[in-house]
Subunit: 506 residues, 2 copies
């Protein structure tokens, strides 16, 4: 019960609360080490002298060692992984992070950096007894240049809080995720989070102006520039974007915030088949051009199971496929004209069977709620195998019917949904409970298929703890060797987020 309350306090996004309660109120998940048969590496074990040292840096209150206090930090939110850490540290400054890492590196104590812990691949919780380095108290906004849109904030800032802050100043954060009420900016950067509006505002490698990070040896790498153009030497910040805390701990971030759109409109359409969705996407790119901010799809099973499981309304009738189109623009009249013209044209052409277009905030939220809740809705059935893959657009939906056929009545629901504009599809396979038989039918099958189509086996969720042994489906031997070399260079003792990202052999 204590854990439940803690999780709730951390969790500011309503749609997550539901699942967090569910997770916390059930029995503890199996230990990751046992579940996945992992062998502990030869790190030191935290001693009372280590805890005392941490307390000299952080004081007593920011060093958690009580089992009840530590447990929530050991479990990921989908309750798939559980670590065995005995100590959670909550630094408040980059200097403190530096001191902690320098000490751990010298003592060969493994460290698991942790942000909002909303990851889906077990990257943000320990596997064994790694020291949890939680950044939640580094949550200050440092500065905002309202003319250029350059924001500097600490890594532990919750994405939604920062977004609210910049919205009051007519700017927005360039990324938006379902987990925005819980996830932290440092975690977003470390995992190269994508999300719902990458189509419009680009990826973090483009939006991040600067990063301050601490290497495993405690050395602070200050690349915290707020400049859009800076070609003075190697672009080091990119080493920390998307390396999931294995090359350094991100402590501060400078990010470019675009202008808050004056007009937002959402359309939700029923479509006959996947080929028509691609045609519709091409048409939307041409007709809506610069105002297109999201182009999402979901199949019938994704929508109908979400409607049913979470009792959410579907604003249109039942169709084989659904498309959500959103526009961000600076002139409501112009944008409405463009969207209505697009709608009329494509209803006439037959690409759109039925649809609704709205700019009323409540109605837009209803549509987005339906889309954003697909991810969690399947959990009501039991266990969900979740795949997050990128594919060339023409092959985008091919895997869903293949998996359906392969599993037959072993699956309750096999559904596909995601970001068409980014070639990123999420495939959820719902079963009454986890079985090795279904797992064996799905993996490595899904990854083999993705690899054969030149796709990515992890589009936005990352590799974390769950996928290092599948990474070779998306990275060749030379690339993996270079990854290992970089890891050895930057973290020779391997203390940062061990058992994650890098495969044991390559």
């Amino acid at each position: 019960m204590l854990n439940t309350i803690r999780l709730l306090v951390q969790c500011q996004n309503k749609q997550y609360v539901l699942e967090q309660i569910r997770c916390a109120s059930q029995v503890l998940p199996q230990l990751s080490a046992e579940k996945y048969n992992v062998k502990r590496k030869d790190f030191a074990t935290v001693q009372s002298s280590d805890v005392n040292f941490f307390k000299t840096i952080l004081g007593n209150e920011r060093v958690l060692t009580d089992d009840n206090d530590v447990t929530p930090f050991n479990i990921d939110w989908i309750k798939n992984c559980r670590g065995q850490s005995k100590v959670v540290l909550k630094p408040k400054s980059t200097q403190e992070v530096s001191q902690i890492l320098s000490y751990c590196n010298e003592k060969k104590l493994a460290v698991c950096p942790q942000g909002g812990n909303t990851g889906l691949v077990g990257g943000s919780v320990p596997v064994f007894d790694e020291v949890v380095l939680n950044l939640m108290l580094m949550n200050n906004i440092v500065s905002l240049d309202e003319i250029s849109g350059a924001l500097i904030c600490e890594a532990g800032c919750v994405l939604e809080n920062v977004d609210n802050y910049v919205r009051e100043r007519n700017l927005i954060m360039p990324l938006d995720l379902g987990a925005k009420g819980t996830c932290q900016v440092g975690g977003n950067v470390s995992t190269n989070a994508g999300g719902l509006r990458l189509l419009r505002y680009g990826n973090l490698h483009g939006s991040i102006l600067g990063v301050e990070a601490v290497k495993a040896d405690g050395i602070i790498i200050d690349c915290l520039k707020t400049l859009k153009k800076d070609n003075t030497g190697y672009h080091l910040k990119h080493l920390f974007i998307g390396s999931e805390g294995t090359l350094g701990v991100v402590t501060k971030v400078a990010i470019h915030c675009p202008v808050l759109p004056k007009a937002v409109t959402v359309g939700f359409f029923g479509v006959e088949n996947f080929e028509n969705i691609l045609q519709l996407y091409k048409s939307a790119k041409s007709s809506l051009g610069e105002i297109l901010s999201a182009f999402e799809m979901a199949d019938r099973d994704a929508i109908s199971s979400t409607v049913k499981n979470l009792n959410l309304p579907n604003p249109i009738s039942d169709y084989p496929f659904y498309v959500l189109v959103e526009t961000h623009g600076s002139d409501e009249g112009h944008d409405g004209e463009k969207l209505n013209r697009f709608l009329s044209k494509e209803m006439e052409s037959g690409l759109i069977l039925d649809g609704t277009v709205t700019s009323e905030p409540g109605k837009m939220q209803t549509i987005w709620n339906l889309r954003e809740n697909i991810a969690g809705a399947g959990l009501r059935h039991g266990y969900v195998f979740k795949y997050d893959v990128s594919l060339p657009q023409k092959h985008y939906y091919e895997l869903v019917p293949k998996i359906k056929q392969r599993l037959g009545d072993k699956a309750i629901v096999v559904c596909g949904y995601g970001h068409i504009g980014d070639g990123n599809i999420h495939i959820n396979v719902t079963v009454p409970e986890y079985t090795r038989e279904v797992a064996g039918l799905l993996e490595p099958y899904v990854f083999e298929e993705v690899s054969a189509l030149q796709g990515s086996i992890s589009a936005e969720h990352g590799v974390g703890f769950r996928k290092p042994h599948y990474i070779h489906y998306s990275k060749d031997r030379s690339a993996l060797q270079l990854m290992h070399q970089l890891k050895t260079l930057m973290d020779p003792n391997g203390i940062l987020n061990p058992y994650k990202v890098l495969p044991e052999e390559c």
Copy 2:
């Protein structure tokens, strides 16, 4: 004369032809090694046995050793640097690049990778007798996905040629430079080229989907994915973007091409002072929002000297400052309405003193010609000290009057122009001829001032041969150490583009 012809053949962009003729028809520039007092590093010297080996890979015709043939590849286009290479290699495939590098690495022969050789910091020509590895024959477009906009091309493709190719398919390249008729995509990626429309289409770290590169040891790193989202391990491609050929040779590039705008409009405005330009920029971001594709400025001296020296027309009268605003949109009517509304509002407010708005291609070209020719116009006076710096926008123009005052009548023209939206100002100081006295007044003064304002001493031109000893003004000791470590990891013999980017000590 032979050199002149060769340079002309390579040069497809008219505005560059003028300067190239000037450069090539004069006496050869001083050797870089002498001019800048550089000591040759302990590399091997090319022997006839090495040349024979290269010929077994490339055939006789793609191995240049005749002095007349080799000379143009030793000189940069602004005629500031001259190397002493005896051999130019022109591979046609990644495999050939791999074989060459593997051999050179083993023999400890230094290599200077070269694209279109339009750089401004001496990065693309040898300093001593490095083997020139020119990518010009790797100029094939490999594939284009017209729905997603993902293009794959070889590194030696000329930017303008690729842009023309994708324009025929309703797409554009996401970068545009004055040197587009000569510069190559591989060079653009290796130098993280910025250019005129970064404001709208973002930087290359955001636009590049994948890179194939060859390391110093000949190992091919294949990160040539065309996916917008791929979070499988370290984002290795960024090691090669902007590292100026010192960590590997880029051989193929996958890049995201945005949709060709259906409507383009250009406005050219006279403005009273720099503070008003910043107000105007804020207003343009708000009023023009998503269609704003460029916001450029130039001061009176930049425009008047260009008009005079190159006999170009100025479409408006004489003003202290000029602003060029461009829009890219999908609806001519909507865009014109937005731009005219912006113009009316700001003429009334007094921020714009006078202006012209046009969507006629010829007239737009006239305005862009004036802006793009500022860079070369100063050469007519003699020697130009050129600075390419980024500054926080509020400090953007501060340096120009300071330099004017510092130099007094020692300078013919001190002018500032550039990309306001990116905080990137180019400062040109024109003098009758290069003197150590003026050089001493400018450097390190300019870099000290930029550093004190948290700016970048090289916004888009890079570090190359000319700026390694100033890089500490923009990168701290820890960052420089990490750069050195990366260099040692990826190129332990230091054969790739030596004497460039990295300072000798840090």
